[in-house]
């Protein structure tokens, strides 16, 4: 064997070895696109990256047919595209205050164009190492521009705060998904400060009092 052929042989062997090594479960984190978000650190890749229907050959065949206009729908390739149902499989809640499907109503068109609240991953982009990756606390204003509560028990009524534009976010007093057992703050000025909310969005523990109402499942395979 010449030195050149030996070089090619070694190169090929090493490459194949590396590929097989990376496919092993213990080395999954090596080819992850980024650190997992808080709470997801212990999850295995297969929790979200679910193998799509058919063999790779069938998937290529279906997609070639789709691009040749011989089929109406594309087929997911290797893994299913991530959608809300993947998230809901663990995070399903009876009384979510802002369920994603709510934003599919036609009247939320402008908000959808701006922040896509109809998709879980618009706010919670995985592999970002943050709890909330894209939603800004001030985004509440995109929908809650008008509010009149007859039996308003806070020290300065909500509608007054809105009229005076004397508010930054709802999240100082309210938890977006309503998943904390907490007493609502009634004194304006004593709400959770903006920077604390931002820290929470990054990765700090939740600033809201009270326990979590619904704990997420630890695996989509959990019954």
């Amino acid at each position: 064997m010449t030195a050149k052929a030996f070089g090619y042989f070694m190169g090929l062997s090493l490459s194949l070895g590396t590929v097989f090594l990376l496919l092993e479960q213990d080395f999954e984190s090596w080819h992850s696109s980024g650190d997992l978000n808080p709470g997801h650190e212990e999850l295995e890749c297969r929790e979200c990256h679910i193998t799509s229907e058919g063999t790779v050959r069938q998937q290529i065949q279906a997609n070639v047919k789709y691009y040749l206009d011989q089929r109406k729908t594309e087929n997911d390739f290797v893994f299913n595209k991530i959608n809300n149902k993947h998230c809901i499989a663990c995070h399903d809640r009876e009384d979510d205050h802002h369920p994603t499907y709510r934003f599919n109503e036609p009247r939320f068109k402008k908000v959808r164009e701006l922040i896509h609240p109809e998709l879980c991953i618009s706010c919670h982009q995985e592999h970002s190492a943050r709890r909330v990756s894209q939603f800004k606390p001030t985004d509440c204003k995109l929908c809650h521009k008008e509010l009149h509560i007859e039996d308003d028990s806070i020290t300065v009524p909500h509608h007054e705060l809105i009229e005076r534009d004397d508010w930054e976010t709802c999240l100082g007093c309210h938890d977006f998904h309503g998943n904390h057992e907490m007493e609502l703050e009634k004194t304006v000025g004593r709400q959770i400060k903006f920077n604390k909310i931002q820290d929470y969005f990054n990765s700090a523990p939740f600033p809201y009092s009270g326990k979590l109402i619904h704990k997420a499942k630890e695996s989509i395979y959990e019954k």
């Binding site: 069938q58 065949q61 087929n75 036609p106 959808r112």
Partner: protein
């Protein structure tokens, strides 16, 4: 050189074609292909809207309306453990809507109004335009929402019982206090992704809405069991006293009316198809 590249490319493409089509395994099913009779999606919308309207009317008049007369309570805070109450009709619909979202049928349902009690349910944009049209002509409004790729239908939601009128007129957060019986108080908005549907799609959607209605009613019965003074649940209705129909009794009463209505819609549209 050019010839060489051409021959290699042709060989690769030929190999790929043989790999993908000639010796390939069975084709993956294209789920968008519909088998059997085809209907415009408006037929599916008419069926589910009628099913929902019948359930809502029964719940509003026979459970909420008559129930209040015998001491049953209904509240916005019905899920609160310390409140012995059931869901108001709008919240009953929300439960149905939530169930639909969890079902595999891609059907969406929302309730809104131009004068809602909760300001977050107020129509705007295309929905308010279509709602005005709906109130003027008393016909459902259909349109396509391109960004979510959904066909949309809006159906009038009438004040079917005196309870609707009194509750909305008395509610402190209601922006309108002069509702009258049979007014259009709002609209249900329905979403579906396909322009045409098969009979199977309609059956699946009907089944999903019925399952949603039954689940919502069962949740109410579960809550009743935790009341300090729970009503007797069986085959009697509130008009007979402090009773509630069981889920089976409620479903039977609802299905009796709804099945007839659904069949009427399907048959009238099948005849139109044949013409």
């Amino acid at each position: 050189m050019k010839n060489k590249i051409f021959i290699i490319t042709a060989l690769i493409l030929m190999t790929l074609s043989v790999y993908l089509f000639k010796t390939a395994p069975a084709l993956l099913a294209d789920k968008s292909i519909k088998v059997g009779s085809q209907f415009p999606v408006s037929v599916l919308f008419k069926v589910v809207a009628a099913e929902n309207a019948i359930a809502r009317a029964i719940y509003t008049s026979k459970i909420v309306g008559k129930g209040k007369e015998v001491g049953l309570k209904f509240s916005e805070k019905w899920k609160n453990k310390t409140v012995d109450a059931g869901p108001l009709p709008a919240l009953f619909l929300r439960e149905v809507s939530q169930h639909l979202e969890k079902s595999p049928v891609p059907l969406g349902l929302f309730l809104g109004s131009d004068y809602p009690i909760a300001s977050t349910n107020k129509f705007s944009g295309q929905q308010i335009e279509k709602f005005i049209q709906l109130k003027t002509y008393f016909n459902p409004a259909y349109f396509y929402s391109s960004d979510i790729k959904r066909y949309v239908a809006m159906f009038p939601d009438y004040a079917v019982a005196e309870g609707c009128v009194t509750c909305h007129n008395k509610h402190p957060d209601s922006p309108k206090k002069d509702w009258k019986l049979h007014d259009i108080m709002g609209a249900t908005t329905w979403l579906y992704p396909d322009k045409t549907v098969s009979l199977e799609d309609i059956v699946k959607a009907t089944s999903a809405i019925r399952s949603g209605i039954l689940t919502a009613y069962k949740k109410y019965l579960d809550k009743c069991n935790s009341f300090q003074n729970p009503p007797e649940i069986g085959d009697k209705w509130p008009e007979q006293g402090y009773f509630l129909p069981s889920d089976k009794t409620f479903l039977a009463a609802y299905e009796k009316e709804a099945s007839l209505q659904t069949m009427k819609i399907l048959l009238s549209n099948t005849v139109h198809n044949e013409k």
